[in-house]
Each structure stands twice: as C-alpha cells, then as structure tokens.
Subunit: 210 residues, 2 copies
Amino acid sequence: MARVPRQKRAKETVNAIIEAGFIAMAEHGPASTTTRQIADIAGVGVGSLYEYFDNKEQIFQVMAERFVADTIALIQPLVPTLVRKPIREAVRELLQKFREFLQQNDARYLECARHAMTLGFEEHLEPLAKALQELVTQYLMHHPETLKIRNIPTMSYIMINGGIFAVVRHLSEPAPPISFDELVEGLADMIGHYTEQEIALVERQGMESR
Amino acid sequence: MARVPRQKRAKETVNAIIEAGFIAMAEHGPASTTTRQIADIAGVGVGSLYEYFDNKEQIFQVMAERFVADTIALIQPLVPTLVRKPIREAVRELLQKFREFLQQNDARYLECARHAMTLGFEEHLEPLAKALQELVTQYLMHHPETLKIRNIPTMSYIMINGGIFAVVRHLSEPAPPISFDELVEGLADMIGHYTEQEIALVERQGMESR
DNA sequence: ATGCTTGTTCGGATTCAATTCGGAAAAAAT
DNA sequence: ATTTTTTCCGAATTGAATCCGAACAAGCAT
C-alpha cells in the first residue's frame, strides 16, 4: 500500500476495492480479472486503485490476507469449546463451521477458494496453520492421555496441511468423488484412529514394563 | 497448439520452448516469466512460441502435463514391487523415489513445484490422482485382509490428496518445521496405523458375532 | 466564513508484455 | 530446378497495468 487511508471516505474506498476484488474474482477467476473491472464494481476510477495498492497483485494479496484472517477469526472463538469435546466430534464441528463460513455472502469465499489456489495463497496460509497448531496444542493440554503420542509435531503438521488441502481440493473439484460429509467423517476417523491407536500402544507398553 | 510440428527441427523447437519454460519458471516464478525470457532461453524468436502454442498460458499447461506425466511414469513401474511390501515400507519407498525424481535435473521440477501451485496445477493433477488410486486398488487386492476396511474411497481420497499436498507444501516451505524424512515417516505411520486399527476393529467384531 | 494545507479522486497518457502477421529462409516434394 | 509446404522470425499492434498532475473535498487555523 503506497499510502494509508486517513479519512473515512478513503477507508470506504479501500474497502470497496477489496470487496469488488472478491466479486470480480468470483465472477471471472483471477487470471481474467482486470483493474478496470475491479474499479467499475467498486464504483471508483482506475487510478484510485493505485492510491492504496502498489499493483493488482497486492489487491489479491490483501484479499487473501483478509480471507485467512476471517478464517482465523472463525476458529479462535471455537477453541475453548472444541478442546473439551472428543476428537472426532471436534473435527466434525470445526469442518462444518468452516463450510458454513465459506457459504455465507453468496458463497463468495467459496468461489474465491475454488479459483484462488491459482494465486500465492499458500504464502498467506502460514497464520492459519499457526492458529490450527495452537488449537492442537490446546487440545493436547486438555487431554493429558494424548500427550504420550509420539511425533506430535510431525503428525500435527501432516494433519493440518493434509486437512487444509484435502478440504480446499474438495471444494475446487467440480465433481468430487466423495461428498463433503464423507470427507469430514473420513478426516475425523483418520485423526481419531491415529490418536486412539497411539494411546493404546503407549498403554500396552506401560503394562509390559511392569 | 495452433499447429503441429511436422519436421524434426520443429519438434526440437517445441521441446526447447518447454525446457526453457521450466528453466525460466524455476528462475523467476510463474508470475514474472515473460514470453521474451522463454524465447531467449530457448534460443528462438518470440514469434516462434506462437507457432505451436496459443498463448503463454498454454506453455505452462503443457509443462504441467509433462510434469504430471513424468511423475506417473515414475510411479507406474514401481507398482508391482510396492504392492508386495508392507504398507509403511511401500509409502516410504514411494515418497523417497518421488523426492529423488524432484531433485534430478538441477532440482528443476522441485523449483517448479515450489512456485507452481501458483498455477492451475490442480486441474492437471487428476491423472496423477488416478494413478495413485490405481496403486491403492492394486495394493488392496494384494492384501485381502485390508479389503474389510470401511470407507476405502474416502480414506484413499484423503490420503492421496492430503499426501500430495503435504509433500508439495513441505517442498515449498523455505524453513519447514520438520524434515522430509520425518514427514515420510509420519505419513507412513498415519496410513499404517489407520489400516492396522481398521483391521483390528473388523477382527474384533468378527469375534464378537461368533 | 475565508484562506490554506493536506488528503482524495480521477481518467487520459504512458509503459510494457502478449500476441499477430506477413514475408524470408529452410526443408520437402515435384 | 521449381514448386509447395513447413518453419522461423521480429517489427508492429493491441490491450491491460500503471503513473501522474490537475481538480475536488476535508480539516483546520485565523
């Protein structure tokens, strides 16, 4: 952003531009969204885009940041509730909330996510991965029996990244071979089984060594 | 492709363009590779690009197709060997081969994969997903005890997509929190545990119903 | 209110990369 | 050798992204 909006009017302009970005992106896909389209939808002149953004790319970047920030804002208040639930239920609830989130605002975010992998979304994904990492950490602390699981960093890395992408990929498939609900169940089972088996393993070893 | 190369010379040109595409992509990232760069690296005039490709985008598409095709060509001969091995070992071997594959040719493919999520790679991923699906199917047939696992389609969807993306994401992180070997072990464990637990579950149920 | 400074908007002018096109050179066919 | 087909090219065109300076609005001191 070349310049910071100081007056209310200017802030509204910036906001209109970002909103317009989402709309244009959902309609045309990222490759064929032009600055003129964004400006027209936002109801501002093309020149105005460049008052607050260095280039078109940066508009997309800010959109991505907002998307990720909103997703995190969705997750964080859920943490205290989720950490008290059984693992499968927690996974299910998290993913269902995420789905609802994507479908609000005429499914604008969903349309974006569908096209949007096309951008450098991953670069902005880090904060989301961090938030999920935090959720995992909180969860582990509320379930002391899970702390004995081996390779927690590795497994949470796999679950978080694998999970994010399995969901995003599913959303971006025109005709996915499985339903979203099946995907959710599958992820819940995958994670549930893993933790259960690890805990069982630890207990067995504990008994043997007595 | 507007035109099909008929003479040997022309085929070499096409090939040089695609190769140049990989080099330029690895060097500048997809967003800022220009047609001129590609033409210069390939040692042809800019105009020549358009003899065989409709536009720059299509060059990237063909690159993606070649990448995916090469990956499949890597996997398919491994199938007969992999299906005879224990699950963890199979996963480990597959992923290690994949890593070697990415690092050949000055790690050109790896550099591409790093940037390349930025493109519509996923659209070309389908054949790869299919090949992996086939590997899973073959594996299951060679291990009859695994056929009792519930939700095989869902679980293989998650493992394949989650696996692909966890690996790609790992490769594209400048400072990943875990090593590639840890990732491989983790994935092997995740898949291994799941199948073991499912098999155990089925056996237990089998005993109960007697 | 009035003049002054700072912030904001705008759209034509400019720049830059993608794409086109018509003809020259090379290869193949006659 | 001549004709036909294929290939190659780079200057010219096109269109979108970006810049810029004048015009307009807001804040603010007098």
